[in-house]
């Protein structure tokens, strides 16, 4: 596999990529104009809450959304080929692979795991049964499945959660894809298993030189595994930066709010948390202006009227008029604190969390 690794030929380029679903109330804009570039061999972490559009975005790219009711627009180029409006069948099982959240439901319960891993090998690489078996056994060893030969003939329910997730990773590895999308790969696993699986994923990603998109709701998971982190909210990109940059210089109020709403280990016990006030945006009739403005403590009048453009500072970009860390942001916060509420009427008091 000799692909150009230079910056000129990124693996995946999205430009103003949109996905909408026709609903009874109108078009639900699940992904609303996302642009990003994923270089070969890199890992991009996409962080967001339920409803942020992170899963829809990736299912859209790989082409696993139902055709009916789905409206796709903008541009998505994979290895230079336009995906929007095209059938992605050719990439399935060869160049793109996906790992799902729940290893219990994403393995076929009535098929032996060996066959499930062998399926793409036999279909796309035309391996014979014995060749495929050998390959799978090798991959099982690689991902740390003990007694690989015996496991080939087991069913998913006979394996523990961690083992099932390793089988899923094996399927992805067997394909040797250029792009691996891992959708919350460890959310349903225990922390100790989670650590192992994440370590494994990053290891094989590096070894095979594939690009990975790691979708998660946990900023902690993305840190240390991703080269860059992209924070999504309401179908839009809020902030995007190299991982350490992001943690050092959180610019978007949403990123910061998300980070401080989580209890952290170094907090003393009974440390009061700072939840994000309000409710997630309605994506059928989203708020005009910044999607996060109604819940943002920095929000000024302009945030309610205009969508903030993407500000680029080197590799760090964010969509906010009043980012944290620069003077406008500080002023906006002070203004809101002084008047006791934000431009959207959100009370800035201790009790801001009540609905």
């Amino acid at each position: 596999m000799t692909y150009p690794t230079d910056e000129e030929h990124p693996l995946l380029v999205l430009e103003d990529y949109r996905i909408g679903f026709n609903t009874e109330r109108g078009l639900a804009k699940a992904v609303d104009g996302v642009s990003l570039t994923l270089k070969r061999g890199q890992t991009l972490g996409i962080v967001g809450e339920s409803g942020s559009g992170k899963t829809v975005l990736n299912r859209g790219v790989i082409g696993l959304l139902a055709a009916r009711n789905t409206v796709e627009s903008g541009s998505a180029k994979f290895e230079g080929e336009e995906l929007v409006g095209e059938n992605r069948q050719a990439f399935w099982g060869t160049k793109m692979a996906m790992i799902f959240q729940d290893p219990m439901t994403s393995l076929n319960p009535v098929m032996k795991v060996g066959n499930q891993v062998m399926e793409p090998l036999r279909q796309h690489q035309k391996l014979s049964k014995s060749e495929a078996k050998k390959r799978v056994a090798d991959i099982f060893t690689l991902v740390g499945i003990p007694e690989p030969i015996k496991r080939l003939d087991q069913y998913p329910h006979e394996l523990s959660g961690g083992m099932r997730q390793r089988v899923m990773i094996s399927i992805a590895l067997a394909i040797e894809p250029d792009l691996l999308i891992a959708d919350e790969p460890t959310t349903s696993l225990d922390v100790t298993v989670q650590k192992y699986i994440l370590d494994l994923l990053t290891r094989v990603q590096k070894e095979q030189g594939m690009s990975m998109v790691l979708i998660t709701h946990d900023l902690g998971v993305a840190r240390g595994r991703a080269d860059e982190i992209l924070v999504m909210y309401g179908g839009r990109v809020m902030e995007h930066a190299p991982t350490e940059d992001l943690f050092e210089k959180m610019s978007h109020p949403y990123t910061s709010a998300l980070f401080s709403s989580i209890p952290h280990l170094h907090h003393k016990k009974h440390t009061r948390l700072t939840p994000i006030p309000g409710t997630p945006p309605d994506i059928v009739e989203p708020p005009t202006g910044c999607r996060f403005a109604p819940r943002c403590t920095y929000a000024q009048e302009i945030c309610l009227l205009e969508s903030p453009p993407m500000t680029q500072e080197g590799n760090h970009r964010y969509a906010c008029f009043f980012p944290i860390g620069i003077q406008q942001g500080q002023e906006a916060l002070t203004t809101n604190q002084q008047r006791g509420h934000t431009a959207s009427g959100l009370q800035i008091q201790k009790k801001a969390e009540a609905i």
Binding site: R68, G93, T94, M98, S106, E119, Q123, E158
Partner: protein, 357 residues
């Protein structure tokens, strides 16, 4: 092994209960002597009649108590002897009648089920793979219409269309002709219309069931996974989705045995097919109770056997059933397994999925 024995015991117990209830009902509600002898049975003033009555009583063990008569019948039944018919003309064994009638009904049932399942599976897969499309909506309406059309009404319609108006299929049914062949004299052709009557209704019912289950399965993550592996559409449907979706269909196939017999009864009567169904109607009307009892027992046994087979089939289809991770036949489960066992299993499952969100 232990499970199999337990199951067999339960099966025997159920058959015993059924036979006892039927036996008692027929003897208490009906008048066996009258059924055998006709009006003579009431003629107790005539010594000649009394003699005949006494003889008949002895012959048919009617002088014995009910439990004793039941014991005799049960003893015979276990050895495969269904006793003799209540008939004024001699004592023809019930077994003869069954031997004569059973094959015809069996052929009919097998043909009907083949039509039903054979139609239902591709029909359901096509519909489910394009859920809510025009194809699907049309097929849903069609299935709905067939489900709402009773057997006897469908029989009349099919007969009217194919035998009377188009005259493609025969309207006379004979008992003796060979099965295999393609003329009006062959049973294959004769059975076609009756089998179609039963089969179309069945196909519609199975399609509705399987379609729903398939749609649920198609929304599972493992289907997306299979697609993302580049598995072809056909393989996704038939190899990945169909097998885990067959549970309800198998359950219904097994539970439906007694309904099917009911259907066969009506259809055989309408088409005047000499089968078990017509036999049982005749027997009931003539109060020929041993025949009724025999047929009830055959149906009940078939029901049990099919449910048992279904149970085994679950294991074949879904490996989780084999290791007791998933509940098997709902119909038998409640009886064979002790409740505490079930609770314990559920507890384990709860524990293992504790943090699954």
């Amino acid at each position: 092994m232990r499970r199999a024995i337990k199951r067999l015991l339960g099966l025997g117990l159920l058959l015993t209960v059924i036979s006892m209830v039927t036996f008692a009902a027929m003897n208490i509600l009906g008048d066996p002597l009258f059924n055998i002898l006709g009006p003579i049975a009431g003629d107790v003033d005539n010594p000649e009649s009394v003699k005949i009555i006494e003889e008949a009583k002895e012959q048919y063990y009617l002088d014995k108590s009910l439990p004793e008569r039941y014991a005799r019948w049960a003893g015979d039944f276990v050895t495969g002897d269904f006793g003799v018919r209540f008939s004024a003309t001699g004592q023809p064994p019930v077994t003869d009648l069954i031997k004569e009638r059973f094959p015809r009904t069996l052929q009919l049932m097998i043909m009907a089920q083949l039509i039903a399942v054979g139609l239902a599976i591709p029909w359901a897969v096509t519909a489910a793979s394009r859920a809510n499309s025009k194809t699907d909506k049309t097929s849903t309406v069609t299935a709905f219409a067939f489900v709402s059309l009773p057997n006897f009404a469908l029989a009349v319609i099919l007969f009217y269309v194919f035998s009377i108006r188009l005259d493609w299929l025969p309207d006379v049914y004979t008992a003796t002709d060979p099965f295999w062949g393609f003329t009006h004299n062959h049973r294959l052709i004769q059975n076609l219309l009756p089998a179609l009557t039963l089969g179309l209704g069945g196909a519609a019912a199975y399609q509705r069931l399987l379609r729903t289950d398939l749609i649920t399965t198609l929304q599972e993550d493992f289907i997306l996974m299979a697609r993302s592996k580049g598995v072809s559409r056909r393989k996704v449907l038939y190899k990945h989705a169909l097998r885990p979706s067959l549970f309800s269909l198998i359950t219904v196939l097994a539970i439906n045995i007694s309904y099917m017999i009911g259907g066969a009864l009506v259809v055989e009567t309408f088409f005047r097919i000499p089968g078990l169904g017509t036999a049982v109607v005749e027997a009931v009307l003539r109060e020929d109770f041993p025949v009724v009892l025999a047929i009830v027992m055959i149906v009940a046994t078939a029901f049990m056997v099919f449910n048992y087979l279904a149970d085994l089939l679950y294991g074949v289809i879904d490996p989780r059933v084999r290791t007791n991770e998933k509940e098997s036949t709902p119909i038998f489960r409640s009886l064979w397994k002790s409740q505490t066992n079930l609770e314990a299993e559920e507890k384990i499952n709860d524990e293992t999925v504790e943090v699954s969100s």
